[in-house]
Symmetry: C2
Subunit: 622 residues, 2 copies
Amino acid sequence: MTEDQLDAARQLARQLRVDSIRCSTQAESGHPTSSMSAADLMAVLLLRHLRYDWDRPDLPTNDHVVFSKGHASPLLYAMFRAVGVVTEEELLKTYRQLGGRLQGHPTPVLPWVDVATGSLGQGLPDAVGIAIAGKYLDKLPFHVWVLCGDSEMSEGSMWEALDKGGYYGLGNLTAIVDVNRLGQRGPTELQWDMDRYAARVEAFGCRPIVIDGHDPGAIDRALTEAGGDGDRPAVVLARTLKGKGVAEVEDKEGWHGKPFPPDLAERAIAELGGTSDILIATRLPEPGRPAGSNGSAKDGDAQVTLPTWERGEKVATRRAYGDTLAALAARGDVVALDGEVGNSTYAEEVKKAHPERFFEMFIAEQQLVAAAVGLAARGYTPFASTFAAFFSRAYDFVRMAGISQVDIRLVGSHAGVEIGADGPSQMALEDLAAMRAVHGSVVLYPSDATSTAQLVRLAADTPGIVYLRTTRGAYRVLYAADEPFPIGGAKVLRAGDRDAVALIGAGVTLHECLAAADDLDDEGVRTRVIDLYSVKPVDREALVDACNVTGGRLVVVEDHYPQGGMGAAVMEALAAAPVPPPRVAHLAVQGLPTSGTTTELLDAAGISARHIVDAARKLLAG
Amino acid sequence: MTEDQLDAARQLARQLRVDSIRCSTQAESGHPTSSMSAADLMAVLLLRHLRYDWDRPDLPTNDHVVFSKGHASPLLYAMFRAVGVVTEEELLKTYRQLGGRLQGHPTPVLPWVDVATGSLGQGLPDAVGIAIAGKYLDKLPFHVWVLCGDSEMSEGSMWEALDKGGYYGLGNLTAIVDVNRLGQRGPTELQWDMDRYAARVEAFGCRPIVIDGHDPGAIDRALTEAGGDGDRPAVVLARTLKGKGVAEVEDKEGWHGKPFPPDLAERAIAELGGTSDILIATRLPEPGRPAGSNGSAKDGDAQVTLPTWERGEKVATRRAYGDTLAALAARGDVVALDGEVGNSTYAEEVKKAHPERFFEMFIAEQQLVAAAVGLAARGYTPFASTFAAFFSRAYDFVRMAGISQVDIRLVGSHAGVEIGADGPSQMALEDLAAMRAVHGSVVLYPSDATSTAQLVRLAADTPGIVYLRTTRGAYRVLYAADEPFPIGGAKVLRAGDRDAVALIGAGVTLHECLAAADDLDDEGVRTRVIDLYSVKPVDREALVDACNVTGGRLVVVEDHYPQGGMGAAVMEALAAAPVPPPRVAHLAVQGLPTSGTTTELLDAAGISARHIVDAARKLLAG
């Protein structure tokens, strides 16, 4: 860099610092010192490396900037001001205010933000997904730049991300770690042990580049090296000072997440040389078009022929998932990811049919979900699968995906006590509750192969976090191949105008409900059976109808703990509905399950046909 | 080792393999090949290193064996047979059977098992907690031996564990990694790249020792080195063959999690030299007593004086938590852990008062919860705290803690939209649903300082996974200092025999309910107000009373998404209760929150006093 260029970088960094201070002081809230440490890094990135057309944030060739340290939002928004997409007025008047888009932590409400951050240790894993899209699907030379905090390097998910970044040879990914030595409550674990950081990065398959994070020349050389044609991610380890540039706070404890009081802000801005209105132009991306079928064009949709099954045939819904997804992957936007259990979830069928759109994430469920988020941010249609129980490992990532408002599909196999001998560690028994509570989620739980196929196909075009629960064992196909299964619907499998009781199940318990209905019919009890395949949104109308006909007598049966699952979904839906008040007999898994056979465990849990018959009888008697 | 000793190790290893095959073939389920790879490692451990009194599993001086690769349960149970605590009959007849204690994956139903495993990447983090107890609290020389799989080294949590093991200088911890190269569906990510594993271990602050995992002499030297007085954990990286000892399956794909068919089992057992009944005696631990006050003796309980507050004073419940826990930590069994936010959760008060019983886990929430699990397994009374939202990062660990049936307390601060400007990434809005669904959980949500203090004290002696949700802002103290708050209770703050409607809240929404009740009273509407501080178990009686008096008119208000939280808790409790059927107006957070002030956000979410008044009016009108 020439002296002029160095000076321009210093000037821009000063403005970024000043603006970070101004907006947070104005908001009386925010993280100025965490922004100031990284200002030089971002100034050089903006001036000399980032390729981005700010008028066209959806341009597929644009680079990506992810603030994994989302609390440095003042810096990010100051950068947006410096490139001219956010005005000084918006920055100063709306930061952290209700109705503004410059929220406390960045979200994709802003068109230049790919993913919501703020739960540390997630931006880099998400960026791995974006970089995978760039290298393997888009086949575009965009670069993914991620600003990381040093505190978040304690999160295991960061190492899952670097590991996968190395494994997939993501030379298009650069993590810039702002090693400012101070966390929220005091020194970080490794403080300024740059050698230790570098050794970890190297061991995890990435390229460490250690620099002084306040030396524009060194930053420029590092980013040049990082942005080159590497065969693995670069990790720029930048030694910095928290609060850099303002002596009163520089490298001092007690200033995390604290806006400067107005008097300090005034002194600080003066010390930094005052306010300025530098407006810069970043480099534009080279022209190009993605090779992959992302975005709205669902190339290949016409070629999708879903598998079909005969009614009565015994098929596991997990098997139907794999077969369906392999068929659906004729569409170029559909991508499958799995957590080293593709022969159990049957995601391996996609690998066989379309190896170029299958990504193995090994046993790293956080990265599994994060990669899906990143692929979705690039417009692809990811399906991520593992055992349903193990999505609990990535629950914070699912939560943040809800805040990102990305469209991802999570398919969890081996749900409930139904799995049998493996025991409770492998049984998802709280997933319906957890997934229902996620913002913008859709929760599906098909009972047969036909409904699985239809729902998987719908899931591909359903917005939000779609969670689909599959079952280990093979059960009867209940529906003809052309039966539709709209999201938010339910199937009334048996019904009459004089039904005395309704049995409501999904997955394995629907089959138990059907068996129970046979028994009840034999006793002369007219029984309605409802397949509640859409747990969220739930079919309120079908439930209201059932209440109207049965006088509110419902038996809800689920292979899940009693809290927050299908029972709660039914009750919440009917909470204030103008129907005969429901009297719900709720059968769910009681106690801690053990090993055993499926039949034994369903019975021990209190959710087998005989328990359903008993519950129905009691409702009728009471 | 002498030739005789080497031979004894080989013979024992053969028996462990044979028994692993026998029990899984008998059960028609299980993981024999994953057991066979580690048989030599465990044989040498049992014969020459492990110090354990099998008749007294509760002896505080015993070493600990944790199978982080829980699917190698056949090997663990074969070891139990070899030391004489499990009979051949139990092994062969009960493995993976209903009613047996030899479940598919190990759980503490067995007295020699500390923690449930089977969700990979958790045994080692749990063991860090056990080793912290040994080094810092018990001050006993027991050693913690952890058998890890190579596949699970992809989990970020394993690196959180090694990082913290190094940070806390846990020379009493040895991880033995069975690098058998094959995962469930094919080769692992690093296969036999022992150098890469060693570099990672070294960089994460631990001592790598690379060996041939089938050479008893090498194993013995490694375990000797590992078991010595190191100042950091040792990680024995053992190169092994999956299915070792049986040519038909050795190092072959397609044999994960598959029992041998009877004919192959027969050939395999013959190849291994047939069955045997070797019974061995392990070394006994040195005598000793724990320095810490673990177990049933709650030393110092008499010295606990809870802080008190005046009614009307404004105090944040998170502040009350910290002050109370600092007082409670006069008890020697109470230990606090935090995820680098102790100045926000106020766990730092314990650090100030009792630094010897405060452990900083930095930003590694999985390890935070795992360490609590390990401490609980050693009889301590851990309280782990972070932002409520960030416990979602450790949800799988909480789930497994439920299966371990350990007693831990998780305290989440900054719940709901109440937190204001930081935005949705920092708001726990699904925690009540997720935590309620965990087996054996207790979910508490106090509204004022007094109830917080009482509940924190009770939590220390409440079994199971106790989750307590605190609030960021300061609100009025509602109760006198001597008010009792039993788990499973509720407080009826305002009540009369002719109440027309009941408002039910907890935390910040209780204060909104009180404000709404004032308004409704002004309109002449007799209003009951219920503090539902115990969300699970919930006070069914108080709810039934409210239904009886109000004709079932309930307004439930929660700072949480609508699914699975307090509303569901109320509805589930009343599902089949013989009361006037509840008509629940359920106010919960609608839509995705943004930044804003607390007042703005409570209102925007639809859970502020005016919304409550409206909902009550509608209930009364309808």
